[in-house]
C-alpha cells in the first residue's frame, strides 16, 4: 500500500484530509522507476477548485497515455496545512506518488486567473523550489506556466522557466522529447531551455529583457541569443474532434465545484464581445463533431459514475449541432438517471423547451448577461443582446413557469455614463413588469418573481479591443455600484429585485496584473513574503498589505490601471501573437468608441487575423 506524505496526526488535524491523499478513481499510478519523465500538473488553488478544471484533466490524461511519462497532480494546500507544512518543513508532494514535487522533472502550473499569483509562489516555496527561475539549479524541476494568463506572462515571468502559449495538446510531446534528448546528451538546464525556446509556442522569459522609456512604458525587448524568436505564436489544435480527450477523468472523493462529466463541445467563439479575452484568445471557433461527443458522453458517464453531465463552451447556443446533441443526451441521460446542466445558453423558445425537459422549472433560474444597462453601451461592447430579445425571452420563460431571473452586468465599461448605469435598474424593472403582465395573478406559483442583478467591475484585458482603455479607480467603481443600487431602489418593482456587487479592491489589483509588465513581479514577491495568499478568497485578501508593497516597491497602481494607452504604445504582451492582430483590435477599439457594432464571424468575417491558421470554417482563409 502507498505511504502517505502526511502523518495520520497531520491529516486528522486538517480540514478535508481527502484533499491530500490522492487515490481517486481514475487517478493514474505508475512505477516511478520505469518512466523517463516525471511531471506534476498544478492548479494553484484549493483542491475543490483545481479538480474542477477541464484543462488539467485533458493534459493529465494525455501525458499519462504516453508510456514513458507519469503525470501527477498537486493543488494549493489550504491555509491550515500550509501552516503545518511550513512549521514541520514538509515538502510539497504530488498526490499520486506522495513523493516530493522537487524530485520531479517538470512542474506545470495552469494559470487561469490573475488572483492566484501568490499561490504560485506558495507552490514553489512549499515545494522547496527557488522562487526565481534564474536561481534554479540543475536538479530542480523545470517550471512551466500555461493557461490564459500566460498570454501576458510578464508580471510573473521571473518565476517561470517556460511559458507554454496556447492550447496544451500540441507541443508537449515535442517539449518532452527535447528534454529527453538534452538529458541523453548530458546537456544542462540552460541547454534544454535554449533548445525549448526554439519550439513553437514556447517562451523562455529569462532569455529576454524588457526595456522601458523614461515614462515607464515599454520601449522594446532585448534577447540574449540571436537564434531565439522575437515573436511567440500561440499553439492551437487544428482538429478538435480528433485531438485527445479525457474519457476517464479523475473522480474526486469530496464534493468539488464541477462534480460532473464535462463535454467540451467547441473551442473559440464567433461573437467578438469587446471586453472578453477568451473570445479573442481562442479564435477561430472550432466545433467538435456531435457523433464523437455522443460516444464521449456515454464512455465518460460509464467511467466515472457521475450523475450529471454538462456542456462546456463560451457560447453553447452557437454550436451548430446543438439540437442533435441535446436530443441524444436528453434521451440517453433520462434512461440512466443522469442530470444535464446547460450553462451559457441564449434564452429563446428552443433553449426554454430544452431546459424545461432537463431541469425543475420551479427551482431553476434563467440567466441573462446583458453586461451593460443601455443599448448604446451594449453596442460599444459589441454585446448583441437587445432589450427586446431579453424581454421576449423572459416573457416566454414566465409563461413556462420560471420565476427566477439572474442578470449579469459590468460597471466601469469604456464610455459609460450615469444614463447607462440607470439602465440596469430600468431593465431589471421591465423584466419584473413583464412577469406581472404575462402571468395572471391566479397562476403565479410562488406569487412573485425574483430578479437578481449582479455587477462586476470591468477590467481591461490584453488582446481585447479594450486593452487601450482606462480602468476605473476603486472610488469610481464604488460610486457606480452605489448609483446602480439607487437606480434599482427607485424602480416600481424594486421589491422583486435584489442587487449584488463585488468588492472593488481585488478588481483594481487584478487590473494591475492583467496589463502589468515585468516590474510587477517584485510586488507580487514582496506581498507573498508578507503573507498574502489565496487572494481570490475575499476572507484572505489583504488589500492594505498589497498597497504597502506597491508603495515600497515604488510602483504606481494608476500607471497600470487608470492610464488610457496611446494607440502606438508597445504593450508588454505585444511579442505574443495570439492570432488576432493588433490592427484588428485597434480597429475594434475605434469602432467601440464610435458605438459601432461588428457582426459576428458567422455573419461576416471581420478579418481579425486568426484566419491565417486555416482552421476556422467561418474564416474562409481570409487574413
Amino acid at each position: 500500500m502507498r505511504r502517505l506524505a502526511l502523518s495520520d496526526e497531520v491529516l486528522m488535524r486538517v480540514e478535508k484530509p481527502a484533499r491530500y491523499i490522492g487515490n481517486e478513481i481514475n487517478s493514474v499510478v505508475k512505477d516511478g522507476e520505469r518512466v523517463a519523465v516525471r511531471f506534476v500538473m498544478c492548479f494553484p488553488d484549493v483542491y475543490e477548485i483545481g479538480m474542477s478544471h477541464l484543462g488539467i484533466q485533458i493534459l493529465y490524461s494525455m501525458l499519462n497515455e504516453w508510456e514513458d511519462v507519469w503525470c501527477e497532480r498537486v493543488y494549493s494546500p489550504w491555509v491550515d496545512l500550509d501552516r503545518i507544512m511550513r512549521e514541520q518543513n514538509i515538502p510539497l508532494f504530488a498526490l499520486e506518488s506522495q513523493e516530493p514535487v522537487k524530485n520531479m522533472d517538470f512542474l506545470g502550473i495552469t494559470i487561469q486567473y490573475e488572483m492566484c499569483y501568490t499561490n504560485i509562489l506558495q507552490i514553489l516555496d512549499l515545494a522547496q523550489i527557488p522562487l526565481m527561475a534564474a536561481e534554479r539549479g540543475e536538479d530542480v524541476p523545470i517550471v512551466i506556466g500555461g493557461g490564459p494568463c500566460a498570454y501576458n506572462p510578464e508580471p510573473i515571468a521571473d518565476f517561470f522557466d517556460i511559458f507554454y502559449i496556447g492550447e496544451g495538446e500540441t507541443q508537449y510531446r515535442a517539449l518532452l522529447d527535447c528534454y529527453l534528448a538534452n538529458r541523453a546528451q548530458g546537456g544542462t538546464r540552460r541547454d534544454f531551455l535554449k533548445r525549448a525556446a526554439g519550439l513553437p509556442g514556447i517562451y523562455v522569459p529569462q532569455f529576454y529583457e524588457e526595456l522601458y522609456h523614461a515614462d515607464g512604458t515599454v520601449r522594446g525587448r532585448k534577447k540574449l541569443y540571436e537564434e531565439i524568436p522575437d515573436t511567440i505564436t500561440k499553439e492551437l489544435v487544428r482538429d478538435v474532434t480528433e485531438v485527445h480527450y479525457p474519457l476517464k477523468p479523475v473522480v474526486p472523493f469530496i464534493k468539488v465545484t464541477q462534480d460532473r462529466v464535462v463535454l467540451e463541445i467547441q473551442r473559440g467563439c464567433i461573437r467578438g464581445c469587446r471586453f472578453c479575452q477568451a473570445g479573442q484568445l481562442y479564435r477561430p471557433v472550432r466545433e467538435r463533431d456531435a457523433d464523437r461527443l455522443k460516444e464521449y458522453a456515454a464512455a465518460m458517464l460509464e467511467n466515472t459514475g457521475h450523475e450529471e453531465i454538462s456542456l462546456s463552451s463560451l457560447s453553447s447556443s452557437d454550436y451548430t449541432q446543438l439540437n442533435e446533441l441535446l436530443d441524444f443526451l436528453i434521451e440517453d441521460c433520462s434512461r440512466k438517471h443522469v442530470n444535464i446542466s446547460l450553462p451559457s445558453l441564449r434564452i429563446d423558445a428552443f433553449s426554454l423547451d430544452v431546459m424545461s425537459k432537463v431541469q425543475d422549472v420551479k427551482k431553476s433560474s434563467l440567466t441573462f448577461a446583458p453586461e451593460a444597462g443601455s443599448q448604446r453601451l451594449r453596442d460599444v461592447i459589441n454585446k448583441g443582446l437587445t432589450e427586446e430579445v431579453i424581454l421576449k425571452g423572459a416573457a416566454l420563460a414566465f409563461e413556462g413557469g420560471w420565476t427566477r431571473v439572474k442578470l449579469y452586468f459590468m460597471l466601469g465599461l469604456p464610455t459609460e455614463t450615469e444614463e447607462d448605469i440607470r439602465g440596469i435598474g430600468d431593465l431589471s424593472n421591465k423584466i419584473a413588469a413583464a412577469f406581472f403582465e404575462t402571468v395572471p395573478k391566479d397562476k403565479r406559483v410562488n406569487g412573485k418573481v425574483q430578479i437578481v442583478a449582479s455587477t462586476s467591475f470591468f477590467i481591461p484585458k490584453p488582446f481585447t479591443p479594450f486593452q487601450w482603455a482606462r480602468m476605473c479607480t476603486k472610488e469610481e467603481f464604488l460610486d457606480k455600484a452605489y448609483l446602480t443600487k439607487r437606480g434599482i431602489m427607485e424602480q416600481l418593482n424594486q421589491k422583486s429585485i435584489k442587487y449584488n456587487w463585488h468588492e472593488a479592491d481585488a478588481s483594481v489589483l487584478e487590473g494591475v496584473f492583467a496589463r502589468g509588465d515585468r516590474r510587477v513581479a517584485a510586488v507580487i514577491l514582496e506581498a507573498y513574503r508578507r503573507g498574502c495568499l489565496f487572494d481570490s478568497w475575499s476572507e484572505y485578501f489583504h488589500n492594505d498589505i498589497w498597497l504597502q508593497c506597491f508603495a515600497d516597491c515604488g510602483l504606481d497602481i494608476g500607471f497600470y490601471t487608470t492610464r488610457e494607452r496611446a494607440e502606438d504604445e508597445i504593450f508588454p504582451w505585444d511579442f505574443i501573437d495570439c492570432g488576432v492582430t493588433k490592427e484588428f483590435l485597434l480597429r475594434e477599439w475605434k469602432k467601440a468608441q464610435a458605438g459601432t457594432v461588428s457582426p459576428n464571424c458567422r455573419k461576416q468575417c471581420q478579418g481579425c487575423g486568426a484566419g491565417r491558421f486555416g482552421v476556422g470554417r467561418e474564416c474562409g482563409g481570409k487574413l
Partner: protein, 254 residues
C-alpha cells in the same frame, strides 16, 4: 430485491468521511452497472442506505450498506462487479440477497466489535489489518503489563463513569452497560464488543481513554488506531439477553 453489501475501508480511505463514502458508492454502483432501483419524482435518487457511520480516521472490515435492485445475476457477480470499480482501500467483502422481511441495516445495528492498536512510530498510514502488509505483532500492542487482567478489573467495576460535555450541558454517563466484551489480543492490542445502536452507541476511544486512566497508562489518542471488525444485529429471542449476529447473516435467522 434487497441486497446487503459488506465492505472494508482502510489505508488512505479511512480519511474519507461518511457523506463522501455515500457519494463514492453512488458513483461506484453506476460504474459497476448495477441495476439499482431509483426513487420516483423529479430528481430520482438511488435506493441505498448505510448501516452505521464510521468516523474519519477509523478503519473497518465490517461496513454495511443496503441497496435495492431491479435485477441481478448472482450475488457473487455483483460482488465482483463492484469490487472491480473500487478505489484502493475499499474492498467488497460479501454481497447477500436479503429476505424482504429483514429489517434494514441501519435500523438493525446493535453492536460492533473493534480492535484498538497502537500506531507504529512512523505510521504514515495504517496497514491493512491481516493483509500481507500487516505490521508485526508486538509493534501494534500497547505494551501495558498484564493487559488482560487490567481490562477485566476495569470491566469488573460496578460503574464506569465519565463526563460528556455537550453544547448545552455536562452529563455524567455510565459506560459499563454498553461494554459487552473487553479483552487483550495476543499482540497486546485491545478488542472490544460494544453497543453501537443509535440509542446507546459507545465510542471505542471513550472506553480506551477511561481504561488508560484506570491503568495509569499515558497514551495519547493520536497514538491509537481504531479498527471496526464487525457490525452486529441483536437477534435475541424472548428471554435471551443478547444474540449478536453479523448484519450479513441476519437472513439466516428469519
Amino acid at each position: 430485491m434487497k441486497v446487503r453489501i459488506k465492505f472494508a475501508k482502510y489505508g488512505a480511505m479511512k480519511f474519507i468521511g461518511h457523506l463522501d463514502m455515500m457519494r463514492y458508492f453512488q458513483k461506484a454502483v453506476r460504474r459497476a452497472r448495477i441495476d439499482i432501483r431509483y426513487s420516483e419524482g423529479f430528481s430520482p435518487h438511488q435506493i441505498m442506505s448505510f448501516a452505521a457511520p464510521l468516523g474519519v480516521g477509523i478503519e473497518s472490515y465490517g461496513e454495511y450498506m443496503d441497496i435495492e435492485v431491479l435485477s441481478m445475476t448472482s450475488a457473487e457477480d455483483m460482488r465482483l462487479a463492484l469490487d472491480r470499480v473500487m478505489a484502493e482501500g475499499v474492498e467488497i467483502l460479501s454481497v447477500n440477497v436479503m429476505p424482504d422481511t429483514v429489517k434494514n441495516a441501519m435500523a438493525s445495528v446493535a453492536a460492533a466489535a473493534y480492535r484498538i492498536r497502537r500506531k507504529s512510530e512512523d505510521a504514515r498510514t495504517a496497514v491493512a489489518y491481516g493483509g500481507e502488509d500487516a505490521g508485526g505483532g508486538a509493534a501494534e500492542g500497547f505494551q501495558i503489563a498484564n493487559l488482560n487482567e487490567k481490562l477485566q478489573a476495569f470491566l469488573a467495576q460496578e460503574h464506569i463513569l465519565y463526563t460528556k460535555e455537550t453544547k448545552k450541558n455536562v452529563l455524567e454517563l455510565d459506560l459499563k452497560p454498553g461494554i459487552y466484551e473487553l479483552t487483550a489480543e495476543p499482540d497486546g492490542a485491545v478488542r472490544m464488543l460494544v453497543n453501537a445502536s443509535s440509542g446507546g452507541n459507545v465510542k471505542p476511544m471513550t472506553v480506551m481513554e477511561q481504561f488508560f486512566v484506570f491503568a495509569g497508562a499515558d497514551i495519547p489518542q493520536t497514538a491509537c488506531q481504531v479498527i471496526r471488525l464487525e457490525t452486529y444485529a441483536d437477534m435475541a429471542k424472548e428471554g435471551e439477553a443478547h444474540r449478536f449476529v453479523p448484519l450479513a447473516e441476519m437472513g439466516k435467522y428469519i
